[in-house]
């Protein structure tokens, strides 16, 4: 199968590139730690108010927010995935590749997969640090693996959309604009930082909006696995919605590739 080999060699290329940019490695590792430490310090007192929310009794803000940090890291990491594609377009690498017999599908697939590999590594590091800081993951290692599936689906969608936008715009400025415009608001329009639901702290309209936000489904799923256990009604919904989200991203990315790359 040429497709699989093409994907393999390109994933290796992308990962090597990332690992060779030392600043990038440093920032990707330090950033989530800063999220964890800084946010839990700022919002620590909030944890005391959790006592009134069913299911969050006795939960500290650190425990509440740790799953959110995992999801945020995935969101920010994958949303920027298109920058690498832009670089390839800009350097003339993409058009040079397209003049070879390389399977077309492998170009975008390998970029998305390389992003996934990095996200899984980052997520595992955050889980480890969270455990060291005192977070008890009730579902244990299987729960962490389940969480990885959930965040991979979320990241897949964002990475594919980001690559599609890179092909659409062909310039860094509009891509950066769109990502900055989307990334933080989608976090605030979810239960990443504040508990949602009828007893939660989000205003009613935001609680409605978050039901259209894939980020929220990922946060809810991962948080269940960390704090409560296998709540299948949440988990199934997370898997289905995020699978649909990932598919939408792949379709968009593929369409942009067909329209703009060839």
């Amino acid at each position: 199968m040429y497709l699989l080999n093409d994907i393999r060699v390109q994933v290796i290329r992308h990962l090597k590139t990332l690992f060779r940019i030392r600043v990038w490695i440093f920032i990707s590792l330090v950033q989530p730690i800063i999220w964890l430490v800084l946010f839990t310090q700022v919002f620590d007192s909030l944890g005391q108010s959790f006592a009134i929310i069913p299911g969050l009794e006795g939960v500290s803000y650190l425990q509440f927010f740790a799953p959110g940090v995992v999801v945020m890291t995935v969101l920010f990491g994958s949303a920027w995935a298109g920058m690498g594609m832009l670089q390839d377009i800009d350097m003339g690498i993409l058009s040079k590749m397209l003049a070879t017999p390389v399977t077309r599908a492998s170009i975008i697939t390998s970029r998305v997969l390389a992003s996934m590999v990095m996200l899984v590594i980052q997520a595992l590091i955050i889980f480890t640090i969270a455990v060291i800081m005192g977070v008890d993951i009730v579902t244990g290692v299987p729960g962490v693996l389940f969480s990885i599936v959930i965040i991979c689906l979320l990241g897949l969608g964002f990475a594919a959309f980001s690559n599609g936008l890179a092909l659409l715009f062909r310039r860094p400025e509009p891509l950066m604009g769109v990502i900055n415009f989307i990334a933080l608001p989608t976090v605030f329009m979810s239960s990443t930082m504040m508990p949602g639901g009828p007893d939660g702290f989000l205003p009613g309209w935001l609680d409605t909006v978050r039901q259209f936000n894939p980020v929220d489904y990922a946060v809810v799923g991962v948080r269940d696995l960390v704090l409560s256990g296998y709540i299948w009604s949440d988990l199934w919904r997370a898997i289905l919605i995020l699978a649909a989200w990932a598919t939408a991203g792949i379709v968009f990315g593929t369409l942009m590739f067909r329209a703009k790359a060839e």
Binding site: R13, G92, I93, K96, T100, P101
Partner: protein, 338 residues
């Protein structure tokens, strides 16, 4: 045997810009075919249609025996493409760049290793295989770039402006590689350039392209001989102002009916006078002009160059357009006014 054969190949971009306009030409196996023209003439667009990166609006071409519309996948396997931009990955080593392309061209691991070794020697980069490309000089990058188009030993290679932006020394170096590729290894080469000397030096045959149309085709000597005789370039003044134009008009009228003058052609503040024998014509011209009270700033006698060929058909020189970003629209407006 022909390696490329186009029929009425045309590309129209949005805004009704006919970048390539019904061109017909043939490239034979083993030859270096030069596509010479100023920036924006349609050279890159032609290459991108032939290497299957873009589809023609109408017409088609047969490349290495296959139709670009029906069998693009087979053609990609048979050709190498070296774009104008150096498309190498700076974060990777030279070997990694080449190996990646070996995989893309469906070579097996052992063949790739073997070819990488051979090719680094061929392009004189042996010893730099495992250095990052970010440490390479411009000339080394270009050589690696060319190597990436050769890894699968293609029968045809497209070189789009291969020496643009390189210093003169590196340029002659690259010329030697290109020459060897065709003459020693038997690769057919389709080369675009806006440097006359490059086309003159390298190409077996040349097509001169302007505004999407082929305006002349033949060997460099055939093209130059068609001009005939020598060229005398008269420069009236440093600046290209009204007075210069007046001078050129007057000079033209003085020389127009003289038997030793074949043709006169004004271009970019100069006047090209085509004569049979430059050495004897020059003093004659000076005498005639002095009688009319016309002063000449400078005068040069030379054999016709490819630029004179271009000038003959377009009324412009390629030389004058180097460095200036003349858009298709600007040239078209100029031409329409004339």
């Amino acid at each position: 045997m022909s390696v490329i054969e186009t029929s009425q190949l045309t590309k129209v971009f949005p805004g009704n810009i006919r970048a390539v306009d019904s061109i017909d030409f043939e490239v034979k196996a083993g030859e270096i075919f030069g596509f010479l023209g100023p920036n924006g003439a349609g050279k890159t667009t032609t290459i991108k249609m032939l290497n299957t990166l873009i589809r023609p609006t109408s017409g088609t071409a047969v490349v290495t025996g296959f139709d670009i519309l029906k069998n693009p996948a087979v053609i990609r396997k048979n050709i190498g493409y070296v774009a104008q931009d150096v498309g190498v990955d700076e974060y990777a080593t030279g070997r990694e760049n080449l190996t990646l392309y070996g995989h893309f061209y469906r070579l097996d691991g052992r063949t790739i290793k073997q070819r990488v070794k051979e090719i680094f020697e061929l392009v004189d980069l042996a010893g730099f295989e495992d250095k990052r490309v970010s440490t390479y000089s411009g000339g080394m990058r270009k050589r690696l770039d060319i190597a990436m188009g050769l890894i699968h030993q293609p029968q045809l290679i497209f070189l789009d402006e291969p020496t643009v932006g390189l210093d003169p020394q590196t340029r002659t170096h690259i010329w030697d590689y290109i020459h060897n590729l065709a003459k020693v290894m038997g690769v057919t080469i389709f080369l675009t350039t806006h440097y006359m000397e490059e086309a003159d030096h390298l190409a077996d045959r040349i097509a001169i392209i302007d505004l999407g149309k082929i305006i002349a085709m033949g060997t460099p000597n055939e093209l130059k001989e068609a001009i005939g005789g020598d060229v005398i370039i008269l420069t009236p003044c440093e600046t290209g102002d009204e007075q210069c134009d007046e001078f050129i008009r007057k000079t033209q009228s003085v020389l127009a009916d003289k038997p030793f003058v074949l043709r006169t052609q004004p271009a970019d503040g100069e006047l090209a006078v085509y004569v049979n024998k430059g050495e004897s014509a020059a003093p004659n011209i000076m005498r005639l002009l002095a009688k009319e009270g016309i002063e000449v700033e400078s005068l040069s006698v030379s054999r016709p160059s490819l630029d004179d060929v271009f000038l003959k058909y377009t009324g412009r020189t390629i030389r004058a357009q180097e460095g200036t970003a003349t858009t298709y629209a600007q040239i078209k407006r100029k031409r329409d006014r004339r």
